[in-house]
């Protein structure tokens, strides 16, 4: 009769189910086998138990002494008990009490716990603390033993006892629901409703509770299962309906004394009880939408990539100066759309290359493919990545591991979560130092301190002893850079390294990176959406749009004299004008949004948003050389250049013309890009 711990609430999405999904036909949780089984079995049990008196073949106390402890037969489908009573009739006649009493526990526990959680979440810290202290005391009380005490005092009154259990469990419900309610209340739509003047009760009813519905349903179903076990457990101990009235628990108790000579007796009742609890838990899992099954780690499709790489490897002469050469790189979702196609660029030692573009353009996928660190279910599907003359695409994960950290290192966007919160900075630096440089512990610690000083940390000894949560964002990014330097790499891949940082901290980190490039001859591939960052640190730039490089060349040429309309538009949309230039009255903007992978047109992928698009832009065409060593992917590039046209800002007032936004930005019938399954992949 152990009171099972309720699953932690944060495992369950608190986002309400997208209504688009909800409105069509069956509720989502009835589309999984577990959900169907759970709902069907519980419904069946409830109906069959409540109507048992109408259909049962025998009365519950009717004894067939000739047929005692019988196995299943035509007369007794499930067999008989030691007194020859029909098990089928008794099992279903006994069902109503546990099924209803467990519901009483659930209703009482939520009736108390949920409102308390809503109030505590709304009223702020003081109320929350008081309520939480009281519930902590409740949680520490031994529920089962207290229930026994209650029985000792009031006797066997199952529904009252289960209601009291509900009171005890309400503390656990409160604790789970408080966290959920607090996180829902942090959503801005709650604040927006409050600013509108919506009253407190209606804010809770309209905006907070519906967002908690999933968690409530999951927890309620789990608690129901626990309640069933407890009712049956009490009856097993003799605290249930008195003989000859049947109860599941006592029938199992009864069976246990005949286990030597009639083991079958154990099966029907136990199975029905177990199935009912399994049903409640399966339903809970289905509502939670929890796939309790982890994906098998994907085996990368090396043979295919190898073939493609081999086919293309000698198509063009290799750039002898390049340390990294990427050719016709394709990255795709396995059995799904391409995310990156035909990306080509090269990088010389000691130079910084920027991959720039909006979100969903494939910059991060390109950068991650360089180290073979694509997310599960995404892989390189063609092209080649030549690193110091060595083909990386055809390497196995194990072979790549020898390159990672030693030759190529990476820093990422969120420095605060890039470091392991459970280990000190010293541990995280010393461990790779010992592994890669093969030095002793003391020596590794000395190098770690030196690396920290190299990345501009003055009090290295104190930082070494710190844990990541004790560092500021800028400090954490410095530590992450120091970590990347532990293996003395030749190439650093920096994925939006300053996006999460304040602008003054960003400037410091960029200066640090520049100093590293200057002092150590490091090459850098930096991913950024910010053209200012690119102008600050990059020697070369590749502008990406919808999985392609649309323009590339030296940073000076591309940014000062853009030839692709998308680059022009991005520059026009940037409100940071150089000193001395007036701020435009309206910014250049690009109508619509980046098309999602899988919906790219065959011709120019930018055509539908381009001010200069013509009929011929819709058929495929190759990239043209531009900016010296660079390229541009626009068939009208010369015309646009010769005519000297720039990407224009919209006229004032255009934007709010009734159809302007509509024509340009069709509303998807399907959820927007962010919601399609590949979402995690694109970001």
């Amino acid at each position: 009769m152990s009171v099972l711990p309720l699953d932690a609430a944060d495992e369950v999405a608190t986002e309400p189910v997208p209504p688009a999904q909800r409105r069509r036909g069956l509720p989502y949780f009835l589309r999984t086998p577990g959900g169907i089984f759970g709902a069907a079995w519980l419904t069946f049990m409830l109906v069959a138990s409540l109507t048992a008196a109408l259909w049962r073949p025998y009365e519950v106390a009717e004894q067939d002494l000739a047929n005692r402890l019988a196995l299943p037969s035509a007369e007794h489908w499930l067999g008989t008990d030691p007194l020859g009573r029909d098990l089928l009739s008794r099992i279903f006649s006994a069902g109503a009490e546990p099924l209803l009493a467990a519901a009483v526990t659930v209703v009482v526990a939520f009736g108390i716990g949920l409102p308390l959680a809503l109030i505590a979440a709304e009223r702020g810290r003081r109320v929350e603390r008081t309520v939480s202290r009281v519930t902590e005391v409740f949680l520490a009380l031994p529920a089962t033993i207290l229930l026994l005490a209650v029985i000792g005092v009031i006797g066997v009154r199952t529904f009252v006892i289960m209601a009291i259990l509900g009171v005890l469990i309400s503390a656990a419900v409160y604790r789970v629901m408080l966290g959920v309610a607090q996180s829902v209340r942090q959503r801005l739509y709650v604040d927006a409703a409050r600013v509108n003047g919506l009253g407190s009760i209606r804010v809770n009813l309209v905006h907070v509770l519906p967002s908690m519905a999933t968690v409530v349903a999951v927890q309620a179903a789990q608690l129901y299962g626990i309640g069933l076990l407890i009712v049956a457990g009490l009856a097993f101990l003799g605290f249930g309906p008195a003989e000859p009235a049947p109860s599941w628990g006592f029938m199992i108790q009864d069976a246990s004394s005949y286990v030597f000579n009639a083991p079958w007796l154990l099966v029907p009742t136990g199975l029905v009880l177990a199935l009912t609890v399994v049903a409640a838990n399966e339903l809970a899992d289905a509502i939670a939408g929890k796939t309790s099954i982890a994906r098998a780690p994907s085996r990368r499709k090396r043979p295919l990539a190898r073939a493609v790489a081999a086919a293309k490897a000698d198509a063009r002469p290799a750039d002898p100066r390049a340390i990294l050469e990427v050719r016709d790189l394709d990255v795709s979702v396995d059995d799904g759309p391409a995310l990156v196609t035909g990306v080509t660029f090269s990088l010389q030692p000691g130079r910084v290359l920027g991959l720039v573009g909006e979100s969903g353009c494939g910059k991060t996928m390109t950068a991650r493919s360089l180290m073979g660190l694509l997310p599960d279910g995404v892989s390189v599907s063609g092209g080649s990545i030549l690193w110091q003359g060595r083909e990386l695409v055809s390497l196995s994960d194990k072979e790549l591991n020898a390159v990672r950290g030693r030759e190529i290192a990476m820093i990422s966007q969120e420095p605060m979560v890039a470091l392991d919160p459970m280990f000190s900075v010293a541990y995280q630096l010393v461990q790779p130092l010992r592994r890669i440089r093969g030095v002793g512990k003391a020596e590794a610690r000395r190098i770690a301190a030196e690396l920290l000083r190299q990345v501009g940390i003055v009090d290295a000894q104190r930082v070494l002893k710190s844990y990541p949560h004790q560092l500021s964002g800028g400090m954490a990014q410095r530590v992450a850079i120091a970590l990347a330097l532990t293996g003395q790499p030749k190439l650093l891949i920096a994925d939006e390294p300053t996006t999460a940082l304040d602008v003054t901290v960003q400037a410091e980190i960029l200066s640090l990176l520049r100093a590293l490039v200057r002092d150590t001859g490091l090459s850098v591939v930096i991913v950024s959406h910010d053209l200012g960052v690119v102008a600050d640190i990059c020697d070369d730039v590749a502008v990406m749009y919808a999985g392609q490089v649309v323009e590339s060349g030296t940073a000076g040429r591309v940014l000062d004299d853009p030839t692709h309309p998308y680059t022009m538009a991005l520059l026009g949309a940037n409100p940071h004008v150089p000193d001395g230039e007036p701020v435009p009255l309206r910014l250049a903007s690009i109508p619509g949004t980046v098309p999602s992978p899988g919906s790219w047109p065959s011709g120019c992928r930018f055509a539908s948003r381009c001010q200069f698009a013509q009929e011929r832009c819709t058929t495929p065409f190759p990239a043209l050389p531009a900016h010296g060593d660079g390229s541009v992917l626009c068939i009208r590039v010369d015309e646009i250049h010769d005519a000297g046209i720039r990407w224009g800002a919209e006229h004032v007032g255009d934007e709010i013309a009734p159809d302007a936004g509509v024509a340009a930005e069709p509303i998807a019938d399907e959820p927007a890009v962010e919601a399609v399954p590949t979402a995690g992949v694109i970001r």
């Binding site: 099972l4 711990p5 932690a8 089962t144 982890a294 990422s412 969120e414 392991d420 891949i493």
Partner: protein
């Protein structure tokens, strides 16, 4: 840190007080009186009244409460209404039985659960489906049913362990071990399933963390990523659930003790409840609460040792 310890201790005392108050109130709102219980159904109303007077039942509630508290502080839990034995001495014999079942079952649940949960998270695919579906079913099975099934398989069919009964450790250590084997395995079935789910969810969350990608990018060997970094991250929820498990097993061992005829705390609670032995009931509640409170304190210390965020703030 001192303030923290003081606060935890105050909470602990508050919880024990709450347990005493609640059981006291429970007892006094009921119709049954200790006199009636002691004298049995044959007694007249006058006899019962006189007995109650003698037991001090008619004194003001507050006086009785503080009397009880005073005794409790000195370790005196009173005497049983049924057999007049010292409740403290009786429970002192019983706590080790329950504690050893709960402790061994918790440890075994932890080991099996972590193995299953982590394997499922790391292997993925079919293995994961099999292990996690199995855990989902295992945690739904009623312990008393599983217990009887295990008796059938392990005692009756194979004769590996005795079906029921308890052997003192002092008389026969091996007999003691075999007498506890089936109860512990029974409790482990459900316990390990819960730990497996927690460990699985924790491990999968851990492996999806950004800092795991940082480690991959450094070329860190896979075993180190999994079993040093991810496992450490996943250990926090597992440890808290293990603590809850121990508490639940300790308080909930009554069924197992009944089933296997083990002289533990739960059995005392059950017989006291069945015979309305009020002082014995309060004693069981108080002792169980003390154990819970101590477990919670230890758990807090363990979490603080594991989680640098708790340790350093």
């Amino acid at each position: 840190m001192l303030g923290y310890v003081a606060r935890r201790l105050a909470m602990a005392v508050g919880t024990i007080l709450a347990a005493v108050v609640i059981s006291f109130l429970l007892v006094h709102v009921s119709d049954s009186t200790p006199g009636a219980v002691r004298l049995g159904p044959g007694a007249t109303a006058e006899q019962i009244a006189a007995e109650n007077e003698a037991l001090g039942w008619n004194r003001p509630l507050v006086v009785q409460f503080f009397d009880y508290l005073g005794d409790l502080v000195q370790g005196d839990l009173g005497t049983s209404l049924i057999d007049g034995r010292s409740i403290g001495a009786d429970l002192a014999d019983r706590v080790p039985v329950t504690a050893s079942i709960a402790l061994f079952a918790t440890i075994l649940s932890g080991v099996v659960g972590v193995l299953v949960g982590v394997t499922a998270a790391v292997r993925g695919g079919r293995v994961s489906r099999f292990l996690m579906t199995g855990s989902g079913i295992a945690l739904s099975l009623p312990a008393f049913w599983v217990g009887v099934l295990l008796v059938y398989v392990l005692a009756i069919q194979t004769g590996l362990f005795p079906a029921t009964g308890y052997v003192e450790f002092a008389t026969d250590p091996f007999g003691w071990f075999t007498s506890l084997a089936i109860p512990i395995i029974t409790l482990t079935v459900g316990g390990a399933a819960i730990i497996a789910r927690t460990a699985n969810a924790g491990m999968r969350e851990a492996l999806a963390q950004e800092h795991i990608r940082t480690l991959r990018a450094m070329g860190t060997p896979e075993w180190r990523i999994r079993y040093v970094h991810a496992l450490r991250f996943a250990s926090l929820p597992v440890v808290s659930v293990l603590g809850i498990q121990f508490i639940a097993l300790f308080g909930g061992s009554v069924i197992i003790e009944n089933l296997f005829a083990l002289p533990g705390l739960g059995q005392a609670g059950q017989s006291a409840a069945a015979s309305s032995d009020i002082p014995a009931l309060i004693g069981v509640v108080v002792v169980a609460t003390v154990v819970v409170v101590i477990t919670n304190l230890l758990l807090d210390l363990l979490v603080a040792a594991l989680d640098p965020k708790v340790r350093t703030t």
